[in-house]
Symmetry: none
Subunit: 208 residues, 4 copies
């Protein structure tokens, strides 16, 4: 599959077309011919490069998801405060959406939220993300920065659930978009998950 130089690279053409078609019509509502038409290639060529319609989506998902897993691993490996680590992950995801909203829409809507179909297929990959984030939380707990009474797994879940909901809101126009909103959202996610919604209860804290 490695293509050194060459010209059009029809395979890439098909993948990029698939992103637009999946985002516009949804995976199930589109036909393979829609992808071929969008890419400007013949029907059967999709099957020359991909074993099935499913494989097209699998490829799109894995390409991006693995980049994200790699990013999380790199972030985790660095000696940073937990807020900065979670901030870097949030930043990566938000920027991914900002850079290619169609692709993120497809990944969220057709894979991670599609619990009965592709979400099932890629459960392992999705779980991997949870676990990597869980490790970050565990370290923060060991450092005494995060409460020990909230299990790392649960914390990772809350963090990821918040981000996924945020993207879903953007995807369906339920939340405002634009440069300033994207940047602010990064801060909001971290502040909400780490600091919580409550004001700092100084009195109580000093008492307890």
């Amino acid at each position: 599959m490695v293509r050194a130089k060459s010209g059009p690279d029809k395979r890439r053409l098909i993948l990029d077309a698939a992103v637009r078609v999946f985002a516009r019509q949804g995976f199930h509502a589109c036909r393979v011919s829609d992808i071929a038409d969008e890419a400007g290639v013949a029907y059967g060529l999709v099957y020359h490069y991909f074993a099935s319609k499913d494989e097209v989506l699998d490829t799109l998902f894995l390409e991006r998801w693995n980049v994200m897993l790699e990013l999380i691993r790199e972030v985790d490996a660095q000696p940073l405060p937990v807020r900065e680590k979670l901030g870097a992950i949030t930043s990566f995801i938000v920027d991914s959406y900002r850079h290619d909203p169609d692709l993120m829409k497809v990944i969220i809507v057709e894979v991670t939220r599609a619990a009965n179909s592709f979400g099932q297929t890629h459960l392992g990959q999705i779980r991997e993300a949870y676990e990597l984030i869980g490790e970050i939380v565990t370290k923060a707990q060991e450092e005494g920065v995060f409460k020990p009474e909230i299990e790392a797994r649960f914390a990772a879940m809350a963090f990821y659930g918040t981000i996924e909901q945020l993207l879903t809101g953007w995807i369906f126009g339920l939340r405002p978009q634009g440069e300033e909103h994207f940047e602010r959202a990064k801060w909001l996610v971290v502040e909400t998950v780490c600091g919580g919604l409550e004001t700092s209860v100084v009195g109580e804290a000093s008492v307890s």
Copy 2:
């Protein structure tokens, strides 16, 4: 639709059968005949009571979702601390899952997470839930209990995203279930969202 006398009430029979079939096979993977078979009625009776397969799912979703919206409205109307309000909502949802996990699986997987199909159809109902929770947050901000710098809408989203992720975890066996886990989960959700993941900074700050 109100059926006074007792008797079999085939309509209810069909709805209950549909919950089991949808939970087991998924909405798209099951045929209408699967529902009829599960209910022990003839094929066409499903169409006697429901205009389409879609309407069966719509009915199941709305029946339950409206109960939840009502619960949130009631909770909101009471003079309780915000933690107790959010706790009551969390409790209701967790108990809904505990009481009828199949129904909640169908609602979450086939509707609220099915962004491209039924999630779209019921966007209004889903949004309503967000807004009601948002109002609770707004009041807590006005009382000075919640930070004013995190918009109520965002806070509601984080709260709902955390719960949905929790249920999704249970549904797909990614998180442990059982009485004690259900009860603990209620506390975890509220503690995480309200208190945040970080240890109380003030105390530490004074110490260090």
Copy 3:
């Protein structure tokens, strides 16, 4: 089936409702429940009086068609000029349409022109009409009023074909309706079929 006095006579109610429904929606496009609804009776009552949906249409057709056959026989039995005989038949059919256009629409559209379905079933009755008219033509030929070189069967066919086309034109709004048009149409049919479209070349020529 003879109902002496009594009240509503649901059977008649159903037949009359069926005429309206068949005329409005067409036989195939309507459901038995549409007829029941239009008649204001319960679903199953249609099956109490009629063995099938088909039988409802059969009944409507035969009721009316037999009246027409009887009329043709009576006309034929009288010592009238052929133009008056054909005029009487035309008049009966046109008046039937004038009096109950829905019923005639159903008979024409759903039976006599429905060559593949009810036209087939009632071929015998339809043929009977042809033959009776053919006999009228034969007598006119024997009297020397009608040309002997045009077979009576063909002549009957031309006569009937013209009338059916006329009604079809009314039914589908292709021809103007109203009292004067109905009366004029009677004259036109007879004049066209008997006198032909050409100006009387011989007589006129000699005169002019």
Copy 4:
């Protein structure tokens, strides 16, 4: 749709098979698979070439009907006596039936007489034929060959009604077929419509 090379041309194969199946079983009584079987192709190929079962019939009808409209236009444009014009049209239709009785059966039974379904769809095309014939009649009236008191529209209707009834008679075996009958029928149609059924009333005319 133009297919230069030779080869099987499955599309034509399907159309020809459809004619046979529609003629044999009727449009509604046959299934798409019957057409595919008759053509010796797979089920879905019918849908590769035609959007629906309806479109197959539409195509068959329009192909033939447009040829007829063209013929009528050509005939009308020539400087011929009206009897020859109407004779040419009659001849074309009768020969169409002689050459491909199945196709004409389908066109008559399933379209022009199917007032509630395809007759409705193709009302415009059918009307066009009426109007073209009406123009021929109008010219004959202007030349003094046809009576002015019978409207051209009505005359066209009588002419067309007679031919349609003739074909219907052949289709359902109510009238004798065979070379001599076909040829004689052409003469009968023209003679009946133009000359009428009555003997030339020379004596009467001169007397009155």
